[in-house]
Symmetry: C2
Subunit: 334 residues, 2 copies
């Protein structure tokens, strides 16, 4: 017996040494390699450690570790135009042969002529008309396929890269880091929920059931004995501003302990998150990098960040300076 | 070296033997001990094996293993009255001191007199008025606490047991078995989403974010600089019949591969589930046990199962016969 233990002791020592090495490699590995050292990176890591270390006074059970992320301008780019609007305009062009009346009917005529200024002059009403014409009138399954086909080929006008590669590498790392720390990561976006679901799992690791977004109504119908969900040209829910906490409660039913956004449209989500008890983490992505991305905030038509920037300052939220905090903006080309 | 291997070999053999014993214990353990042997129990196990065994032609990746369950009459009892209606009537009585006008105003006057027949004579309109008066007008957090306080003390009129113990033990085992097989289990109920969320995790192991239900609208407000979500007396969504597939798409964004219900209100959910590709499992709980529970189906005012029973027969869905399929109805008393 003694012999057995002695002869076992050698491999055991090796085994223990190996385990310790592994543990220390994991502990030393930087979970956010694309983030420059500094107070913002520190704030993230300090928060995650506070809520995950069991002996911490701020420990939060895994089930309650909910983190929500805006999408446009927070996880992927939104300049020079919301990606979903590009999609809608492309769809008008693709659908035009079936709609000869569009050549003379606004706002479609201007879209087909490529006169975006005239389209925008039509205001919200024109945009809503374009959205409904391109997003409704088909089954949920058909729309899913339309989105998948479009996103597989569409390219950003400035970089020529697919939109799904115009995502922010440092934010991908934050998503991964939070999930590795027991968080459930959700998207809570003003964008269309069914425009995001077909690709968020592949691109962000966020499954369809963890996407909250704006929606149109759907109707259950039987077509030749086969059930379908038809998309109706009627707004169901707008997941923006005041709507974000409403959407969070409706879909998740728990208050997040961490939330990230980039515009005034995310302010109420951050306020709702910050107002809960215990440790809280609120982050604004501030678009400060005109060279590698775009620089915009208080006066931008897209992703305006004005009230939010003031409130973040007052409340000590983490305001990420894209230019100085991020080593890279996008993931390497595939 | 040879010596080390030889001396290691003894514990290794023991280790392997232990592992094999464990594996075989797990394989032999009955995942559904409260289900009597027979075709219905077999149908469940055959389906689960078909979608989880990697070499199976019907294998489904874990991420797509979504199972939805109706609540009233499927996971817990709904006789002699929906539990949420009992809650609403109790709330009218509790709130009456703050509403002196209710002593003469219908349907509240009849509720306070205990004249349920007169309340029911008021039809849907009376019920809606009672629901709105008792479910709206407070914050989501306040309502959560009201539900928690009520469910902790309310008792079933026939058995005297808490409602959270009037759940079906065989269905608890089915939930556990599916989760152990990599499924995400969801509740998809006509009941109020915020009436279920405060206790579904404790009772069913289903977290708030996996509960789909009917809802009223909420509004984000600032009260003395603190954000709150106020519950408004306005219907937002009815998660019943045609609404169930709509709710499933809205909340989950994937079609379930398994669904369980007990009434015609679940028929569209089962149709929607059954119509997808690959292996599918649809289950109806048929209330056939007048002695241990209640016996009702085609003509019942609560939980009517008529069209669904016909369709289940035609399509070969599993129709559970509570009297003969279930060894016990409720879990043992705590």
């Amino acid at each position: 017996m003694k012999k057995t233990i002695r002869s076992l002791s050698v491999p055991l020592v090796v085994w223990c040494a190996l385990m310790l090495t592994c543990v220390s490699v994991f502990a030393d590995a930087d979970p956010l390699p694309s983030w420059n050292p500094g107070p913002h990176k520190n704030a993230i890591i300090t928060f995650v450690q506070a809520v995950t270390v069991k002996s911490s006074a701020k420990f939060v059970p895994a089930a309650e570790r909910i983190a929500t992320f805006d999408n446009d301008g927070t996880l992927w780019g939104e300049q020079p135009m919301y990606v979903q609007l590009v999609f809608a305009l492309d769809r008008v062009k693709a659908m035009a042969p079936q709609h000869p009346e569009w050549t003379t009917k606004e706002p479609f005529a201007s879209v087909l002529k490529g006169d975006l200024k005239a389209v925008m002059a039509g205001g919200e009403r024109a945009l809503l008309e374009i959205m409904m014409a391109t997003h409704a009138g088909m089954s949920t399954e058909a729309f899913d396929q339309i989105v998948k086909d479009w996103i597989a080929t569409a390219k950003h006008p400035k970089t020529g890269r697919p939109y799904t590669e115009m995502v922010y590498q440092p934010m991908l790392e934050l998503l991964t880091y939070l999930r590795a720390s027991g968080f459930k990561t959700y998207i809570v976006s003003g964008g269309g929920i069914e425009f995001m679901r077909p690709w968020t799992e592949r691109v962000y690791g966020v499954p369809p059931e963890q996407v909250v977004g704006s929606s149109i109504k759907t109707q259950f119908v039987m077509q030749d004995g086969k059930p379908a969900l038809m998309r109706l040209p009627e707004v169901n829910f707008i997941d923006d501003k005041d709507g974000k906490p409403v959407g969070i409660q409706q879909y998740i039913g728990r208050r997040p302990i961490a939330a990230s956004g980039n515009s005034d449209g995310d302010l109420q989500m951050l306020q709702w998150t910050a107002a809960g008890p215990g440790a809280r983490f609120c982050l604004y992505v501030h678009h400060t990098d005109a060279e590698r991305e775009y620089a915009y905030d208080r006066t931008s038509a897209i992703g305006k960040l004005d009230l939010g920037l003031d409130e973040a300052g007052k409340r000590g939220w983490t305001v990420v300076d894209m230019k100085n905090d991020w080593k890279v903006i996008y993931p390497p080309k595939r």
